[in-house]
């Protein structure tokens, strides 16, 4: 291999290594299955002995109308105050605690709250965090399916 090809090969290798490093350090969760829990799965988990701790990370006006029983309102996680509240509420939990976060304020791909909350919990070292996948909204994908709900504070 001549010198120029060696330089090109080295550059390609460096680019690949940099990309791999960036992906590994990404704080944005990929919309992959292992980071998500489907509503029906969460309902089963709520009925089991190994119930998760549930944090609601969306707007308060939705939480007050209806929320998952036992959920703690720490939202909205799109704001610094919400992230602070999440951090405070999560601080006493063991880092291998099964935690589920949810929002459902608007369609999943546009939610401004779920990903910052997920990233923060992962940053804090939580290893068993899942995001509840609500495709359209909490109303459509949870309440209208007849899953358990609570009103008020």
């Amino acid at each position: 291999m001549n010198a120029w090809n060696q330089v090109r090969a080295g550059f390609c290798l460096l680019t690949l290594l940099t990309a791999a490093l960036a992906l590994g350090q990404s704080s944005e969760p990929a919309p992959g299955g292992s980071d998500l829990i489907q509503p029906a799965e969460l309902v089963k988990a709520l009925q089991s002995r190994a119930k998760p701790t549930i944090f609601y990370v969306g707007p308060r006006l939705i939480f007050l109308q209806a929320h998952i029983p036992g959920a703690e309102d720490v939202g909205p996680a799109s704001k610094a105050e919400g992230i602070d509240k999440l951090r405070r509420h999560a601080s006493s939990l063991a880092r291998d605690r099964f935690v589920v976060i949810y929002c459902g304020c608007c369609p999943w791909e546009h939610c401004p709250n779920i990903r910052p909350a997920f990233a923060e919990l992962r940053r804090l070292g939580f290893t068993r965090v899942k995001m509840l996948y609500l495709a359209t909204s909490f109303g459509s994908d949870w309440v209208e399916k007849g899953y358990p709900e609570q009103k008020g504070e």
């Binding site: 707007p59 308060r60 006006l61 939705i62 007050l64 109308q65 209806a66 909205p76 799109s78 459902g104 304020c105 608007c106 369609p107 546009h110 401004p112 359209t136 909204s137 909490f138 109303g139 459509s140 949870w142 309440v143 209208e144």
Partner: protein, 145 residues
């Protein structure tokens, strides 16, 4: 996604104040077809819809369509900036838990209701509206006298 209320509920009677200080009450539009859109300025699909609501308002106002935008979770300054930027052509009010509950619960944004000339809620769209369908519903309600 469109779903109808299980029975045709009456539009709630609750007075809100728009950005110009006018009293707005969804039950006060009998004889008109009223589109009520629950939204928030931070909600991208909500923002994307509003120009289309403005087109509907302009197109059907003379036939009796009125629209109200109820913002959930935005400060007034944000709403004023938004209305100025988008030149919204219908009243925008700040919502609250009570108005959301009076509409049967607004558990996601955007959510859009259509109220007929009879003062009853005829349709509810959860999530981004299917605009061809919505327009067809508006036309049908406008045709009912």
């Amino acid at each position: 996604m469109t779903s109808k209320q299980p029975a045709l509920a009456a539009a709630p009677s609750i007075t809100l104040t728009d950005l110009s200080g006018n009293a707005i009450n969804p039950s006060g539009y009998k004889g008109k077809v009223l589109l009520v859109n629950f939204w928030a300025a931070w909600c991208i699909p909500c923002r994307d819809e509003i120009p289309q609501f403005m087109v509907l308002e302009e197109k059907y106002r003379a036939r009796g369509l009125e629209s109200i935008g109820i913002s959930m979770d935005d400060p007034e300054s944000t709403l004023r900036d938004f209305c100025r930027e988008y030149k919204v052509n219908y009243p925008i009010v700040a919502g609250n838990q009570k108005i959301a509950e009076e509409f049967g619960g607004v558990l996601g944004l955007p959510t859009t209701f259509l109220i007929g000339r009879d003062g009853l809620i005829h349709a509810r769209h959860a999530g981004a509206a299917d605009f061809p369908k919505l327009e067809h519903e508006i036309q049908a309600l406008l045709d009912k006298r």
